[in-house]
Symmetry: C2
Subunit: 302 residues, 2 copies
């Protein structure tokens, strides 16, 4: 069984939210941060509390490698522990690593992230070097059901620099990537109808969304760009198919929901953030996740 | 002072070889591997010996992150220690990480690899997401002289999938990447005339090499593809400029030179590899580095 089938079922049961654990120590209530022995420990405790509070309302989690590498070896221990904790609780985790390398090197990265201490259910990959930087990871799709989301058309402004280049009439670089991925998905297809490997497609370019969804019907999408980057529930819903086929990532709006709630309750004058507890942060994260889940579910039904 | 100026001087003094420390435990003589407490420790001891034996004949080192991540936290400790050891000895180290992410995430990756435990002199970056995945790293070029090599036209077969796509007459995706990098190099230029950030250009496509070198005269090249992938000294020399402007990577041919030497001395019947020492491996690596250095120097003079 491919993990994409598990993810499909998780979306059907719990909605489309992918909780992005891009957890910087400064997102943690300061009293809790001080109480921990180190920032790396504080981040793990915070992640645990947020995972506990959202496990039944989130489709999956995405853990951004950069936020942990920044803290060095101790941070990477927290990274490993976070992946393990999610999987132990029966959750699904995407390691946001955007690796892209070839041949033997790709196989070693695959071993690093699909087995051992850093084992995840899915990874993100960058396609620049070509399909020989993607295909080695498929070994683990066949042996262990592992999956990947390959960068196709991202949600940042810079995506216009290269992804968006036109290579022929109405065909951009990202379409060529998508075509290759659709071929891969056809050859390695889950029972749910989506390929073991999907694509990263941002919800920031509304005009193209419906066309992309139609053109790449067998690709499951990991969808960034929601919230701060400008994508709304209606935009994200255009990238879904029959109520499934994609998860929508949100990071800071969930991780820092506690801070936003305090600002609102403080009447704009700024409540006392220093006294916030980790329990309050976890509850606020749950509320933010449910609000987002319901907004996307409603948009998907339109 | 940008690190690119240091690298330029190092090439002038020591030639063009970049020793690739893609050190897998299985490349180490088996007696030495067994003697170590763990594979991670064996790899560090092996790296140390090879760095000691090549520091005066190699321009720089490239440490491939994947081979260390594969070994988990212990492997990443060896990764950190290897970077530190090279820098402590006055060497120059390129962290081959091929990261590519945007905004705050890019800044956190930059902090991870340009400061703290994993500090390197240069990194490799992947441009797929656009220039907003490259530019955040420049902060450290200005504050600490750090440098990067951005994937432009790589040496693998898959480079034809996307890098090679034609976006207009005679202009491929990799040219568009190169043009952007040339602009960046002009705005952040070292005393040596090359930009703080250079490009990865493989020496496997001989036909295009001279043109690329001419077109991107202010980009310093990190050149893969030498040896096993088919590039010869003459091919690599086409990517140099006035005897400088590039470093040529070799990994396995140097790391496993000890094994090759034993095969030859064993008359094809296979010598006793199990008895090889780390000292012999380090000496063989030095001989392989010198041979490669001299071949490229001779080709560059033609």
């Amino acid at each position: 069984m491919y993990n994409i089938d598990r993810l499909f079922e998780s979306v059907a049961a719990k909605g489309h939210v992918c909780v992005g654990l891009d957890t910087a120590a400064e997102y943690i209530p300061s009293a809790e941060r001080r109480r921990a022995g180190s920032d790396a420990e504080a981040v793990f405790a915070f992640n645990q509390a947020l995972i506990d509070s959202t496990i039944d309302v989130a489709a999956c989690y995405k853990v951004q490698n950069a936020y942990y590498e920044e803290m060095g070896i101790a941070g990477l221990s927290t990274y490993a522990k976070t992946l393990h904790y999610i999987r132990e609780k029966g959750g699904i985790v995407i390691a946001d690593i955007k690796r892209g390398d070839i041949a033997d090197t790709a196989l070693r990265y695959a071993k690093a992230h699909f087995a051992g201490e850093f084992e995840a259910d899915f990874v993100t990959l960058s396609p620049y070097m070509g399909m020989d930087s993607i295909e080695p990871w498929l070994t683990y799709a066949e042996s262990n059901g592992k999956g990947a989301f390959v960068l196709m058309r991202t949600s940042n402004k810079g995506m216009r620099d290269f992804e968006y280049l036109e290579v022929s009439e109405k065909k951009r670089v990202y379409h060529v990537v998508g075509d290759k991925l659709a071929g891969l998905a056809a050859a390695h297809s889950g029972k749910c109808g989506y390929g073991a490997f999907g694509a990263v497609v941002g919800c920031t370019e509304r005009d193209e969304a419906a066309e992309i969804r139609k053109q790449y019907s067998n690709l499951f999408f990991l969808i960034p760009g929601y919230g701060a980057q400008g994508g709304a529930a209606d935009d994200a819903a255009l990238l879904l198919r029959e109520g499934n086929g994609g998860v929508v990532n949100a990071s800071r709006s969930i991780l820092k929901a506690w801070s936003e709630e305090l600002k609102v309750s403080g009447g704009g004058g700024g409540a006392d953030e220093s006294a916030a507890t980790i329990e309050f942060a976890a509850e606020a994260a749950r509320r933010a996740t449910i609000t987002m889940r319901d907004a996307i579910l409603a948009a998907a039904k339109k």
